[in-house]
């Protein structure tokens, strides 16, 4: 159970940078009181953030990724159960991996 100084300093640097990312967005927003356009843009952020995360990640998986993703969305819409949707996606990737 060692804790070396160089490792600790690197970790503290990472932790500080990450906390700045977490807190600064909100702090800047509160300090600057942005115009209406910025406010509406932020209300629209959630969907685009995850679309922009998911699209390249699925493209890396190839066609089976998109099939599995469609199944995840369908199961989530039908059951409103996150665990069922995630399980269906992993199951689909497993089955498609056996077929492909």
């Amino acid at each position: 159970m060692t804790l070396r100084l160089d490792v600790l300093l690197a970790i503290l640097g990472m932790a500080l940078a990450t906390y700045l990312c977490r807190a600064a967005g909100y702090a800047l927003f509160r300090a600057l009181r942005p115009p209406r356009y910025v406010e509406v843009t932020l209300q629209h952020l959630p969907g685009p953030i995850f679309m922009a995360y998911v699209a390249p990640a699925l493209a890396m998986q190839g066609a089976k990724g998109f099939v599995a993703a469609a199944l995840v969305v369908a199961v989530q819409a039908a059951t409103r159960n996150l665990a069922a949707a995630i399980g269906a996606g992993v199951g689909a990737m497993w089955v498609l991996g056996l077929v492909a």
């Binding site: 160089d6 990472m14 967005g25 909100y26 209300q43 952020l45 679309m51």
Partner: protein
């Protein structure tokens, strides 16, 4: 969205923690991987836990570990963390209707637990009319506990739990975000064009060879900007 009636209760925290349970399926394998690689890079269990507990952001931990050297790369690790995690800056701003009603440790402490999943769950909760900011902290704390557990197990078992890179279990992380998109969707008129643009821009940036946060940032900001432009033009 008005800020009136925003609360921060123990019940909200507990409800958030319970809501986070299914997300663990997606984050646990990721934590195992971080633990295994941390061990492979020569970090002790204590160092691995200190990093995971304070940084608590898997993709930035993985990236920093990829470029780990002896002695530890202080500047490179710090920069890697900043570049990968800058995506969280707009998340805190988007949750402002809740944060505006919090003060002191409740505000700055809750912000410290913010991760993609707790943001997404809370954005959906806020959209459903949720007014208890404790929900965000609950999701974050539950994920933190399981994160520490997964990273610890990964480190202890080292190579024993090493899954091949393409293992279907890793799809759980992507599946989580696909499923989370469902309750965020508010209809064709509002969301179809912005979401399509976000995906297209992210794919184009990724296809052009841009690294880690840029496809996500470019896609997210262009999609949200289009959504806002369409909404204000209709108003």
């Amino acid at each position: 969205m008005s800020g009136t009636g925003i609360a921060f209760t123990r019940a909200g925290v507990l409800r958030g923690a319970r809501a986070a349970a299914p997300l663990v399926i997606g984050t646990f394998p990721f934590g195992l991987v971080v633990g295994v690689i941390s061990d492979a890079k020569g970090l002790s269990l204590l160092e691995t836990w200190v990093m995971s507990g304070l940084v608590f952001a898997g993709s930035s931990q993985l990236l920093a570990l990829e470029l780990w050297t002896e002695p530890a790369p202080i500047a490179a690790a710090t920069l890697a963390a900043f570049v990968v995690n800058i995506r969280m800056a707009p998340m805190g701003a988007a949750l402002a209707p809740w944060f505006d009603r919090l003060r002191g440790i409740r505000l700055w402490g809750t912000l410290a637990t913010l991760v993609d999943h707790s943001y997404a769950m809370s954005a959906a909760e806020m959209r459903r009319g949720g007014r208890d900011a404790g929900y965000l902290l609950g999701v974050g704390l539950a994920l933190w506990c399981f994160w520490m557990l997964a990273v610890g197990i990964g480190h202890v078992f080292g190579s024993a739990v090493r899954l091949p890179p393409g293992h279907p279990v890793f799809f759980a992380a992507i599946a989580t975000f696909c499923a989370i998109l469902v309750p965020v969707w508010q209809g064709v008129r509002r969301d179809l064009l912005p979401w399509t643009l976000a995906a297209a821009v992210a794919l184009a940036a990724w296809g052009a060879g841009l690294g880690a946060p840029w496809p996500l940032l470019a896609g997210a900001l262009s999609g949200a900007a289009l959504g806002a432009w369409l909404e204000l033009r209709r108003a």
